[in-house]
């Protein structure tokens, strides 16, 4: 019992500590592909540290939503990290508090408040970015739903810990068409949700073209640090769901002993690194889509997920 609580806390700590590192590694790799040297992989930590020590400026016109949003954005991925398998293959203490749908709702809550805060600032770019994020969001919603329903239909459960065993026992299940299609659809979903390149350019600083970044433009000091940290945790959590539930549920701790849980930390980091390499290939070979072609991209993701569902329903 205490073990399970402890492991759950370790899991949350891993998400909190290593989330900025994924951003740092990703940025570094992208720069290196472009034959630049790139910032250090620890740069996100330094940014967050620096921002915590700066004064905060709050727009006069804004209300309490603007002040509370960084905390909500920071806290929601932590809640999701309690629910999903990051390190262990068996359910932990809080695993049955909520299922994948619950996790989706909690993440959506953070997004919702970030949108409200962007409108709250009365900065002209904030609402623009907010409405665009909502556009991407409502296009991503059906994909998420279909992926989620297909996965839980296959596994007969909505708890991610139970779902993950389904695709690899026996190993031939891994090559099921519905599984492969779901992986593709979910990958596209992650790219859209995290604001990566075919949908949004995270390194672009041109306000008119921003989607995700423009929501946090008005934040400074501690607020900005929390928004940055929360954003990278959300990305890390999404990657963990993708890797540990859908793609590679190997390398997780199988027994309830501390050293196995600790060993699984480098393994999950290794898996995340491989996925980051894949994202780097996507980012360096594709261009950002025009705004009105995002609906086509998400439509493609939707079709992929629906094809997975059809293949699952009709061939079993």
């Amino acid at each position: 019992m205490t073990d399970r609580i402890l492991f759950n806390l370790i899991q949350v700590l891993v998400v909190m500590v290593f989330a900025p590192l994924t951003k740092g590694v990703l940025n570094r790799l992208i720069e290196q592909v472009q034959s630049k040297r790139g910032p250090s992989i620890f740069q996100p930590y330094r940014d967050i540290w620096k921002l915590f020590h700066k004064d905060e400026v709050v727009p006069e016109q804004s209300s309490w939503i603007f002040r509370f949003t960084p905390y909500i954005v920071f806290i929601t991925p932590i809640f999701v990290a309690l629910l999903i398998p990051v390190l262990t293959a068996y359910p932990l203490f809080f695993a049955f508090m909520g299922d994948m749908l619950g996790g989706g709702f909690i993440l959506a809550l953070g997004g919702f408040f970030a949108t409200l805060a962007a409108v709250d600032t009365s900065n002209p770019y904030g609402p623009m970015g907010a409405s665009r994020t909502r556009m991407v969001g409502f296009l991503a919603e059906p994909v998420f739903m279909i992926v989620f329903f297909t996965v839980s239909f296959v596994a007969g459960s909505t708890i991610p810990y139970i779902v993950q065993k389904q695709w690899v026992t026996p190993l031939t299940n891994f090559f099921e068409p519905s599984h492969v299609l779901l992986m593709i659809a979910f990958m596209m979903l992650i790219l859209a949700e995290a604001g990566r390149i075919p949908v949004d350019n995270p390194s672009g600083h041109f306000e008119l073209a921003m989607i995700d970044e423009s929501k946090g433009l008005e934040y400074s000091g501690r607020g900005a640090a929390l928004m940055k940290w929360g954003g990278s945790m959300k990305f890390f959590v999404l990657i963990c769901i993708f890797l540990n539930v859908l793609v590679t549920p190997w390398g997780l701790a199988g027994k309830q002993v501390l050293w196995e849980v600790l060993i699984s930390i480098p393994l999950i980091l290794l898996k995340v690194f491989v996925l980051l390499l894949f994202i780097v290939v996507i980012e360096s070979s594709l261009a950002k889509l025009r705004l009105f072609r995002i609906s086509e991209f998400m439509g493609a993701a939707f079709i992929t997920s629906v094809a997975a569902m059809i293949a699952q329903l009709f061939t079993t």
């Binding site: 031939t172 299940n173 090559f175 099921e176 068409p177 519905s178 492969v180 299609l181 593709i184 609906s295 086509e296 439509g299 493609a300 939707f302 079709i303 992929t304 629906v306 094809a307 997975a308 059809i310 293949a311 009709f314 061939t315």
Partner: protein
């Protein structure tokens, strides 16, 4: 160690995977905008078709299916693109956008409806046909056929229309190899060369259209126009 005997479930799993990707590539033909990408997706789809034929041929120890696989692999991914590149001018492939009758999101929904329809349609056919491969190949093949036909209808550019025809043929083959493993080789040969001739004829036709009117937007050729009387 993997069990590689011909009754192993891994073959039907692999075939199911190929089927899923085949369906995805059929959707890709509807989504994609550039003629170049259309051709690329067609090449991928043909390779998937030949993989499925090889898997089926290995399971049934059927030389016909292996021959179909080889023929497909030689003609569709290699010969037809080469032929099209030779006959049709290069600038056609560099258009960024192909005009369509319907916009892409609504095309996607129609494509989805077509796929669902083909699954329902194939379900009633599967009562007569047995086999784990047919369960995958038949509905996906029919869906490929319908999506190819749909591409043919909505595109207004000659090259993607041609690829639509070829994709229809791919879909028909994908369904066909699973329900009639002992199709005579002569029929397959005839079909394969038919496709080649279709590609050649259409390619030359496209070239001629391009030479005569300077464009290959066959969608613009639907009404007869006369020179206005001055």
């Amino acid at each position: 160690m993997l069990d590689l005997s011909s009754t192993s479930p891994i073959f039907s799993q692999l075939n199911a995977l190929v089927g899923g990707l085949f369906l995805l590539s059929a959707f890709g033909l509807v989504i994609v905008r550039q003629a170049q990408a259309c051709l690329l997706i067609f090449i991928i789809q043909s390779i998937l078709l030949s993989i499925s034929a090889f898997l089926l041929g290995y399971r049934d120890a059927s030389y016909h299916l292996l021959a179909v696989g080889v023929l497909t692999l030689v003609i569709k991914p290699a010969l037809i693109p080469w032929l099209l590149r030779r006959t049709v001018r290069q600038e056609i492939y560099t258009y960024r956008e192909i005009s369509q009758v319907l916009n892409i999101p609504s095309s996607l929904l129609i494509a989805l409806a077509l796929t669902l329809f083909s699954y329902f349609f194939a379900n009633s056919l599967l009562i007569i046909v047995d086999g784990s491969f047919a369960k995958v190949n038949l509905p996906i093949g029919i869906a490929g056929l319908l999506l190819g036909a749909y591409t043919l209808m909505v595109r207004r550019e000659a090259i993607p229309q041609l690829i639509g025809i070829l994709a229809m043929e791919n879909g028909a083959f994908f369904a066909g190899i699973s329900i009639s493993p002992d199709l005579p080789l002569i029929a397959e040969l005839a079909a394969a060369f038919d496709v080649l001739i279709i590609a050649l004829v259409m390619g030359i036709l496209t070239r001629t259209i391009h030479e005569n009117i300077g464009t290959t937007r066959v969608g613009a050729l639907t009404t007869l126009k006369e020179e206005p009387n001055q």
